[in-house]
Symmetry: C2
Subunit: 150 residues, 2 copies
DNA sequence: GCTTAAAGGTTACGTTTGTAACTAACAACG
DNA sequence: CGTTGTTAGTTACAAACGTAACCTTTAAGC
């Protein structure tokens, strides 16, 4: 621990902490959409964005969720086959289509939202409301800042 | 937005925020180990843990990094082929081997540590030292709490 | 209008991943 | 000891992924 070598203690290297936290929380939640609805992680995320932000194009989902377009493309296809969403042609630009949840998709989203909210509350309980809120704010800030660099 | 339906606004659903932040930071850093050393993400993470926590078994890395054992197994094999690590038989239990960085592995780790530290500093700068510190602490807390449930 | 460039998506292909089944070494218990 | 169960790690196989090439539609330049 000489002072010349500024003791680069990276045991708390942020990308790893983020990955680990993301991975653990994700794994602890996935059975909810996987076992009951046979959905994959990306499918759940796409459905989530459609459910909470409303109908939108694949491109918009890519941007908002930081997901690769091929990943989204395949998830959309899968959700379509499961009758959770349908495509609506946008008149002014026929390259992209508006993705909309079906009745069934909306119902499933609603159910999963309930479970997700409960799940989210466990974080709030273990961290405390204040720290939880702070974490959310910090993450949003971080995401906004790093969004453009991709 | 009736009050009966408690407006489950999940636009800040924690698992997604974590994933997104993890994904963005990870993507912004990966070219450092990928282009220069041909390392994959998991390989970098394994090397990182060996470098910062010292020689250890695959199992220990799995636990500490929340990585699946097959993923670690393959990363170790790849790092071994690249002469970044070697295995040392532990006398009292021949099921597991101690994984150790080679000279070359240590050198590479040292170089990457410098870059990683710089990278980490960009977070500190954009968030501010205090918020950055708080974030790290919160994430560590979160990880500890959810570790057992896997 | 015609050519060229770019954007939204999809698909083909090779790589990476997870699940499950496996080997090998150890531990417990009779 | 010998059987049974468990743990560390590897491997086979199928599923999921990213890169790059592709189609289609729109926009830009002339």
């Amino acid at each position: 621990m000489t002072s010349a070598q500024p003791d680069t203690d990276l045991s708390d290297f942020l990308p790893f902490l983020l990955f680990q936290a993301a991975e653990l929380s994700s794994r602890n939640f996935q059975h909810h959409y996987q076992s009951r609805y046979g959905m994959l992680r990306t499918e759940w995320r796409v459905m989530f964005h459609l459910g909470s932000d409303g109908s939108q194009t694949a491109k918009q989902i890519c941007n908002r969720a930081s997901l690769h377009k091929t990943k989204v493309s395949r998830a959309v296809k899968a959700l379509e086959e499961k009758r959770f969403l349908f495509r609506e042609t946008v008149t002014h630009d026929r390259r992209s289509e508006l993705l909309c949840l079906t009745k069934q998709g909306q119902a499933t989203f609603a159910k999963l939202t309930v479970v997700a909210t409960e799940f989210d509350k466990t974080f709030e309980q273990s961290l405390g409301a204040k720290e939880h809120e702070k974490l959310v704010a910090t993450l949003q800030k971080l995401i906004t800042l790093h969004q453009g660099k991709g």
